[in-house]
Subunit: 412 residues, 2 copies
């Protein structure tokens, strides 16, 4: 494992010097090779699926593991999209003059070696490799052991194309170990690995944080809120709430708690409750909500902390925006919150004072996503504040160094 990490570190030095056209051609060739070797990939995947079925893997997990011809197409298309994105490495983000004549700038450079720890989802193998390569980073991939054959088939293709381009194969390495202990060992190698991105449930992330000497991007939970203000366009609010809750209830940027200003409660709550119920959503309300809608299930204290990831919604009537913001501060997960309002002052204050990673005015929480926000890609979402906060694109796979142009300056 140390040898894998050591070689990744060496490969990273080469990648950091590799110019954009070479990286882009590499990605396009990987796309072509994945299409060409689709049969081989699907065979490997079939072996994984067969074993997983025997072992009784639940259907939702099996669905994520199973690859079809259209998955191969979308992997290849994804590589082509990443090739078309701008290269973050080498970008000068700012530059200024000092009184002594020094010109000081900040230049983006790759982080170095990135470790991705994920579940049995073979598409992550290719997506993560593409983003790391594009930004000039080497990557070590440790996916769920149930997908090992699929991951190795994909990893071999990537390494084959790397070799063809005279780039080090260690730039992309799939850990061929089924053992979970391999992860624990990997997480000690802070001399060689710069960042760990775990992609999976809260338990996985907590376990990684507990063991790691390497910095970890944490995506804990998405307990996302919408606050419906006193002055609001109810038709628009209704459409946004429905979209945020029901368009894809199983993902982290779906709505989990609806907060409604008391001045709107009697008119808006019956409206939204009936539409949500028609869409199959179960509502759990606070006492004030249930005074208006007595048939609704009661929400317990625990409900305010819940990330349902399901067609369930907690609803609370609040006195005003201050109480809404206090609720978010106490129960929220720093992921995504939205205010729906006609009030300029309230929109401005909510945006300024709510410090979650994405804060929206008059739009669905579902936009908290790297592609939707315009990052061009998404390697993950961070719900803690260090290095990156919120959806992460290619820039978040870089750091900046200071560059200084002098003409003989010394310090006095």
């Amino acid at each position: 494992m140390t040898e894998i990490a050591r070689q990744a570190r060496q490969a990273a030095a080469t990648l950091a010097r590799t110019p954009r056209p070479v990286k882009d051609r590499l990605l396009l060739d990987i796309a072509a090779e994945i299409r060409r070797q689709a049969g081989l990939i699907l065979e490997a995947n079939n072996r994984d699926v067969a074993v997983a079925e025997q072992k009784g893997m639940p259907p939702t997990m099996l669905n994520r593991l199973r690859m079809k011809t259209q998955n191969i197409d979308s992997l290849a298309a994804g590589l082509q999209e990443v090739a078309a994105l701008p290269d973050p490495a080498g970008e000068i983000t700012s530059m200024w003059e000092r009184p002594n004549g020094l010109t000081v700038g900040k230049m983006r450079i790759p982080l170095g070696v990135i470790g991705i720890i994920y579940e049995a989802r073979p598409n992550v193998t290719v997506d993560a490799a593409a983003l790391c390569l594009k930004s000039g980073n080497a990557v070590i991939l440790k996916g769920g052991s149930e997908a090992l054959e699929s991951n190795l088939a994909l990893g071999n293709i990537v390494q084959e194309v790397l070799r063809r381009h005279d780039l080090p194969q260690a730039a992309v390495q799939v850990i061929a170990e089924r053992d979970r202990a391999a992860v624990g060992f990997l997480l000690q190698l802070d001399e060689y690995i710069d960042l760990i991105i775990p992609r999976g449930g809260v338990e996985l992330i907590r376990a990684v944080v507990g063991q790691s000497r390497i910095p970890v991007i944490k995506h804990y939970q998405g307990v996302c809120h919408i606050y419906v203000d006193a002055e609001v366009d109810e038709t628009e609010a209704l459409r946004i709430c429905l979209n945020a809750k029901t368009q894809r209830p199983e993902v982290c940027n779906a709505l989990e708690t609806l907060l409604v200003h008391e001045a709107r409660a009697s008119s808006f709550l019956p409206l939204v409750a009936s539409e949500l119920a028609a869409a199959g959503v179960t509502l759990r309300g606070c006492e004030r909500t249930r005074k208006i809608l007595p048939a609704m299930e009661p929400a317990s204290e625990d409900d305010w902390f819940r990330e349902y990831l399901d067609l369930i919604l907690a609803v609370r009537v609040v006195d005003d925006m201050d109480q809404a913001m206090k609720h978010i501060e106490k129960y929220g997960s720093l992921h995504t919150e939205a205010i729906l309002t006609k009030s300029y002052a309230n929109a401005r204050r909510f945006l300024r004072e709510v410090n979650s990673s994405t804060v929206l005015v008059n739009a669905s929480t579902r936009f908290s996503d790297g592609f939707e926000l315009g990052l061009g890609a998404e390697i993950g979402i961070s719900t803690t504040k260090l290095h990156a906060f919120g959806p992460m694109g290619l820039n978040e796979l870089t750091t900046t160094k200071f560059i200084v142009y002098g003409n003989g300056q010394v310090r006095t």
Copy 2:
């Protein structure tokens, strides 16, 4: 300890909402109060110094512990300087439109709660508090136990002024514990503390990283290099090398290894060696250096890794810039490197390909410093790449959130 961290978290929420004028007045009042209570501070410091002397603290450490009237003045002046700096919180670093009409921006917000772990240097107590308050963060200060009385005296003044401004006293807390175990406990509280900045030697930092569940800014070493290229202004190069090595040899941005292109070795090495020797520097050379200057001590493999922090310099003759860059990659610490050259192409390539936190052309390594680079302040220097790389100013005590202005957008 948990209670301290919990209160800091609450105070951070208030500070994040506190507008710049209030924060600036607070800092100016702390400055005034420190001047007014100078007698009290110096008395507390005298008690610390007396105990430390009895226990046989080495003179260099005693010097850092001991405060004089001029130290009080410079603490107060430092607070005034920080008050005059721009407030990073609330700054919009970029903004763009999406095809669906959403306007997306990134806004700087405070990190939240910052823990500073440092040695027996009372000035850090005030400097760190000033930068954290200015950027809207709460801070927990754990200084060396030998400075506890001084730190508590300073902390009490800050809290007194916070109270006077109706701000939570928990915004700045000095840990009154002399026990090192308190640190270990603090480092587990990732629910409340966002970032740990240790300021001290490599051992302190490694110990903190080993224990911490909270992200840590790491400042390992400054093995700084100057590479003297084939085409160079020797007079200028001489002045820069002397400055980088001798102006303050005990600090992390001082020169530790000099690399000289072989085409320059026979002319430049005797020149620089004699001037450095006259300034009291001991030189340790590679074999090729010692062919030109046989009286020089030999450098061992170990010397290339050394951060001397002293009037000692390792010297190596290299075939060309490639070999110089390979040397830096192998032995360097990612802190600061400079090239001295007249070649446009080499300057450009060195700046692009050397990925240390500060890379300079034709200037002294001593400029790798928050004030000198124009950050207005310095809370530390990071030699690893996550969150911050190189000297850290107020911006590095913030993160960015996404803000999104919509007019009814939903995802389809």
